[in-house]
């Protein structure tokens, strides 16, 4: 609520037509705040993390983690902008891993079959979520909680029946591995490029296509959006399918990356993706946000999480430092925006 007021003020201030306004236009972009937060935590670890943190290997550390969270955070962010939440991703990821590993690892079918089945599963779960949210008017948090449990249960039950175990190995052929589960230069996951691609596509959708407008309107006021002629049901269903698809993709790529799938990975993604999105400046209540912000938010979170291991700090204090840094990054973000907006070189 507070941040909304903030933003409105920002918009008003930015629009004063004077010299100051060009800076205003830049500063009122929510991305700037997230960007500065990101720079701040990077600087922190560049200082305390020593030489290793700024090497390629150090960069890969947080970039790899960011890429996987990021691929999920993008569609989760879109959903949040549209006023919905999706926590079922937490079980779609392992379900997709297990699907590809069971089909292409345990039953040795072509890897394509497994990948497509896994992605199809993600789309299906998303579709069901969307339809349930629309039809039942139950809050999406609860609907996707239900599917979180249901998919997790199905995955476990089916895995035990089919493979007799909760973990399945998979050895992908080199091509599939190169596309989905490779370490470039021995350290950078290919998921980084997929993330980049996803950011571009989602960025296009949100900021450059007309659908972005629909999503923003939906999150701003669902009834008015429908009155304005937006096919709200379709948009919501597609957004849930998008988050199912992306979660399934992460599951597939993890299976190929680690040559195995487990029933129980993935729960941490729920929390981490939501947090990244909110750090990136998306309103938890919907209607506002940007893809660049989400990307910066994800990177900030990943840097804070992984950078700690490059410092000499006792690992027992890691969580404390993470907490303080996260807060500092977000504060930096807000404070800077406020400061920039109320500062004016010379009162006209």
């Amino acid at each position: 609520m507070n941040s909304m007021v903030e933003i409105q003020t920002a918009a008003k201030a930015g629009s004063t037509p004077n010299l100051w306004s060009s800076i205003g236009i830049l500063m009122r972009r929510p991305e700037v705040g997230s960007f500065l937060g990101m720079v701040a935590v990077f600087a922190f670890f560049a200082i305390f993390g020593g030489a290793n943190f700024v090497t390629a290997g150090g960069t890969a550390s947080w970039l790899n983690v960011a890429s996987e969270i990021g691929i999920v955070a993008l569609p989760v962010g879109l959903l949040m902008i549209a006023g919905e939440l999706d926590i079922s991703i937490g079980s779609v990821i392992p379900a997709a891993s297990m699907t590809v590993a069971t089909i292409s690892g345990y039953y040795d079918l072509p890897i394509m079959v497994g990948v497509l089945a896994a992605l199809g599963l993600g789309l299906l779960v998303g579709f069901i979520n969307g339809v349930l949210v629309i039809r039942t008017a139950v809050p999406s948090l609860i609907v996707t909680l239900g599917s979180l449990f249901a998919v997790a249960g199905l995955t476990l039950g089916v895995a035990i029946i089919l493979t007799g175990s909760t973990g399945v190995a998979i050895r992908a052929d080199p091509l599939a591995k190169a596309i989905l589960g490779q370490f470039v230069g021995g350290m950078f996951q290919v998921t980084i490029f997929w993330w980049l691609g996803a950011a571009i596509i989602v960025g296009y959708l949100l900021h450059f296509s007309r659908y972005g407008n629909w999503i923003l309107a939906l999150g701003g006021d669902k009834v008015s959006a429908r009155n304005a002629g937006i096919p709200t049901d379709r948009v919501i269903t597609l957004l849930f399918m998008g988050s199912g698809l992306c979660a399934a993709f992460v599951g597939v790529s993890q299976a190929l990356l680690y040559n195995s799938a487990q029933v129980s990975t993935g729960q941490s993604f729920i929390f981490n993706s939501i947090i990244s999105v909110v750090i990136g400046g998306v309103l938890l209540t919907g209607g506002f946000g940007s893809v660049v912000g989400i990307v910066f938010g994800t990177i900030t979170f990943a840097i804070v999480n992984q950078g700690i291991f490059y410092t000499g700090f006792d690992a027992n204090w890691a969580s404390l430092i993470i907490g303080v840094l996260l807060l500092a990054a977000v504060l930096m973000n807000n404070t800077f925006r406020k400061m920039a907006l109320t500062y004016t070189p010379k009162k006209k």
């Binding site: 290997g57 550390s61 990356l257 993935g266 941490s268 490059y310 969580s319």
Partner: protein, 302 residues
């Protein structure tokens, strides 16, 4: 007419790789139980966030269902002992397995103890590193608050110390749990920051895979050796291909199988096993015996 034994088995999460094997053992033994008109019910918590309390609740749940016999691990004695005592007080035969040791069984009045011991498992790992001249190790703990995992790490450090080496525990923040990439990258960072480390020990299947990956990405596959506890196909494949040195096996299948079989015999026929403390581990699986183990894993029994 005896209608068979109603046996309740308290264990880990159903989707926990290790516990799914214990469960398989219990269920296989349960086939006999069922043939004799009894039943075997598996009770596991939804998550490990509140382990001692949740497990104690499960024990009470079993009592309230008029169990004929109960099997359970003594993970957090302070939290669970009271519930176990209630089992014994209700006259229900009890076997402690997996955690607690014979001490717990004696203290609680249980029939027997079946299983390994976290400290001993870790200790065996430490000794294995020591014997292979890997004298500086790290214990990757993805659930830094849990007592049993901490005991494992403590055992590891004690084991390596016995051979003149040293080690540290690397506790990861909660946001990394269940995220293999985060675990891999954290380990990589630790290895880059501490170039002297030559051994890595992990406390679970998933973590072992992640750790292998982290070592690879640090470019230290030749120097840093990986060990851990429990196994699955991937881990065995890694051992075979040399990217993992060893794994400590506590043979969970036997824990579940033996506990149920012994109790079934006891309830139906009054049989008892005079051997006190049936140890199922720690055993070491490394390149020398990996092939034999493979078959069992494929069947979901190891």
């Amino acid at each position: 007419e005896s209608k068979g034994a109603k046996i309740f088995v308290i264990g880990g999460k159903a989707d926990d790789p290790f516990w799914s094997i214990v469960k398989r053992g219990a269920e296989d033994a349960g086939k006999v139980v069922e043939a004799q008109g009894g039943s075997v019910t598996w009770l596991g918590p939804q998550n490990y966030d509140n382990l001692g309390a949740d497990a104690a609740d499960l024990i009470r749940t079993a009592i309230s269902q008029h169990a004929d016999a109960i099997v359970g691990p003594d993970w957090v004695p302070e939290s669970m002992d009271e519930a176990f005592k209630a089992v014994v007080a209700a006259g229900i035969p009890l076997i402690i397995y997996n955690a607690g040791g014979l001490d717990a069984a004696d203290r609680l009045g249980a029939m027997n103890y079946i299983g390994s011991d976290d400290y001993k498992a870790g200790f065996a790992g430490g000794e294995y590193f020591g014997n292979h001249d890997l004298k500086n190790v790290v214990c990757v703990n993805t659930l830094p608050g849990a007592a049993n995992l901490r005991a494992q790490c403590a055992g590891l450090l004690a084991g390596i110390a016995k051979h003149g080496g040293k080690g540290v525990e690397l506790p990861l923040p909660m946001s990394s749990f269940g995220n293999p990439t985060a675990v891999a990258q954290a380990l990589k960072a630790h290895l880059l920051q501490n170039p002297d480390v030559v051994g890595v020990y992990t406390i679970g299947n998933v973590d072992a895979n992640s750790a292998a990956n982290g070592i690879m990405q640090a470019g230290l596959s030749d120097k840093v050796k990986l060990g851990g506890v429990n196994m699955d196909q991937t881990i065995l494949a890694n051992i075979k291909s040399g990217s993992q040195l060893f794994t400590i096996d506590q043979q969970g299948y036997l824990q579940g199988y033996l506990a149920v079989s012994i109790l079934n015999g006891h309830v139906n026929y009054g049989l008892t096993v005079p051997t006190r403390e049936i140890l199922t581990g720690p055993g070491v699986v490394d390149a020398s015996n990996v092939d034999a183990t493979m078959a069992g894993v494929q069947a979901g029994a190891r």
